[in-house]
């Protein structure tokens, strides 16, 4: 029987990973990821997991170790955050390029400087082009489910790419809330043991990480094609999960009261729940708004977004990061997806960077700016939400 208990978001992830039975975990501490790996270490220490936990000297080594273990044909997991993810980044490119189905948790936190431990999406955005599949979650239950789904997705022979489950640091990892933990037996039925397509094996010696010259474009493209195939699989696996466990959090995207919405707010991660509450409140004031959750950031669900926002008058995209010199990366992607199509205009809003709280006041500001853009027909390139002008001097 599944059990529901009030646990920390980090524990929800650790429990999901445990249920997935990885053979190797390698990780390095970094806040706010730290609790996840501490819990997993304890599970191993208590013999609750048949797993080799490799304590490493840096995130760079953590990613490298799971690169090695995954290539040896063993289900492998790591987690990191912020600077740590960036330190891993060189390995993550290699991991995706070598098609190793590692699952990692990207606990979202901003990147120095200035140094801080506050959450936003700056870190995983920097890994956007690695080839990793990136799935964002809105709450602990979804984090739990998505890790289990992630292994199934990563290890599918049509995909074979690392999957990063992105969750907002602190806001999710350090929150306590009721989480339903599934039966091990049922998880085993949902997620069979890892069957590698290739592996390092002295009985069948293969060369991994070969040097390519002329073949590079095709190998990069094959990663892209795998991500294209992943679009269907993400939805399919989410539905399979629903059939098995009763929970569905969206496939590539999820929508909330978008059908007749004039303003659709597009966002990722932990802000989604707050936005849903805001939508209910605003709807009572006769403001027709809806929320579109981008669950899969890579592969990017351009078509799905287009069909969900078609009828709206304005698409307000909330970016918890800034591509300096360009704008919000999510807004940029949404604009690209809607370009050359019959689609509403897009207002890119930078909101919630560096842990700035996504309060109701702030969401109201987004809606007001969207309404103004609709009435005036003038759409600024970027709107900055809850900006504290005193720091700009």
């Amino acid at each position: 029987m599944s059990t529901i208990s009030v646990i920390e978001g980090s524990m929800a992830v650790a429990q999901a990973v445990k249920a997935c039975r990885p053979g190797v975990i390698a990780a390095y501490p970094i806040s706010p990821q730290t609790h996840i790996v501490e819990f997993l270490s304890q599970f191993v220490a208590d013999n609750e997991m048949d797993t080799k936990y490799v304590r490493v000297d840096a995130e760079f080594s953590a990613a490298s170790a799971v690169y090695g273990s995954s290539a040896t044909g063993v289900r492998s997991y790591t987690a990191s955050s912020s600077q740590g993810l960036l330190l891993m980044s060189e390995v993550l490119y290699a991991m995706a390029g070598t098609r190793l189905p590692v699952v990692l948790t990207g606990v979202n936190r901003t990147v120095s400087a200035p140094i801080t431990i506050q959450p936003d999406h700056q870190d995983t955005m920097a890994l956007r082009d690695t080839g990793l599949i990136q799935l964002h979650v809105e709450n602990s239950q979804e984090a739990y489910a998505t890790h289990i789904q992630a292994f199934k997705l990563a290890e599918d022979h049509d995909i074979l790419l690392p999957v990063m489950v992105c969750m907002d640091g602190w806001i999710l990892t350090h929150s306590f809330e009721p989480v339903k933990l599934e039966d091990q037996e049922k998880v085993d039925e949902f997620l069979p043991p890892f069957v590698p397509k290739y592996r390092l094996d002295t009985k069948n010696p293969l060369t991994y990480g070969a040097y390519a010259d002329d073949e590079v474009p095709e190998f990069r493209l094959m990663m892209h094609f795998a991500q294209e195939r992943a679009k269907e699989k993400i939805e399919k696996i989410a539905r399979e999960y629903e059939a098995k466990f009763g929970d569905y959090f969206g496939g590539l995207i999820d929508t909330y009261r978008c059908d007749d919405a004039e303003i659709v707010m597009v966002a990722m991660g932990s802000v989604i729940g707050t936005l849903k509450d805001a939508v209910d409140k605003l709807r009572k004031e006769n403001i027709k708004v809806g929320v579109l959750k981008v669950r899969s950031y890579r592969p990017f669900p351009g078509e799905e977004i287009l069909s969900a926002v078609k009828g709206a008058k304005m698409v307000a995209v909330l970016d918890k990061s800034l591509s300096v010199g360009q704008g919000g990366p999510l807004a940029t992607d949404v604009k690209a997806a809607l370009a050359n199509k019959q689609a509403p205009p897009v207002l890119g809003c930078i909101a919630g960077m560096g842990g700035r709280d996504m309060s109701m006041v702030l969401i109201r500001e987004i809606i007001e700016k969207s309404q103004k853009a609709i009435t005036t027909g003038k759409i600024p390139d970027i709107e900055y939400i809850a900006l504290k002008r005193q720091y700009l001097e």
Binding site: S5, W170, L172, S175, F176, T274
Partner: protein, 182 residues
């Protein structure tokens, strides 16, 4: 939805208190959410900290900070000088302070419902150390009626193990009964 804000100091167990409230709410069949002040990595033992709990009859989606709490808990009176502990408290909201002093002697806004409990003394008596958070929880249950004492006891039993369970339960019950008997 009911929202609780806890003011404490690093190392006093404010986050654990918030977590225990969330567990107690779950034990009593409600939804809950507890979280520390975002970040906190720069805060060390002794620094003023905050933790939050939300309780509702339906799943909780909102994740912003708590700006207008229904209840505030203050784990020691020295915090009143350092932090605006009553900021944003809803009209008629309750502030529970760990002190031996009279509520009116704390210099807090008169329009608020101020309650006091000497949780530290109860903790010293029942636990042997001045770890006051479970006593505060017992008092909170009695003052607010948000929890029955059984769900507080269940939360403590779920979170801890060994001898400290009984001691903490005893502290919570003692505080609960002290308030009830007033």
């Amino acid at each position: 939805m009911k929202e609780i804000r806890i003011h404490g100091r690093g190392g006093q167990g404010s986050v654990v208190t918030a977590e225990l409230f969330a567990i107690a709410a779950h034990q009593s069949g409600r939804y809950s959410q507890a979280f520390p002040y975002l970040g906190g990595g720069g805060e060390r033992r002794g620094a003023p900290v905050q933790a939050f709990t939300r309780i509702d009859d339906k799943p909780i989606r909102i994740r912003s900070k708590i700006y207008e709490p229904d209840y505030v808990i203050v784990s020691d009176t020295t915090l009143i000088k350092l932090v605006d502990v009553t900021a944003g408290v809803k009209p008629g909201g309750m502030v529970i302070v760990n002190t031996e002093k009279d509520p009116m002697a704390l210099g807090l806004p008169k329009e608020l419902d101020i309650r006091t409990i000497n949780a530290t003394q109860i903790a010293v008596e029942k636990i042997g150390r001045p770890i006051m958070n479970t006593a505060l929880m017992g008092a909170f249950a009695a003052f607010t009626g948000e929890f029955d004492i059984e769900s507080i006891k269940a939360a403590i039993s779920q979170k801890f193990s060994g001898a400290i369970v009984d001691k903490n339960v005893a502290a919570a019950v003692a505080a609960y009964e002290q308030v009830k008997s007033r």
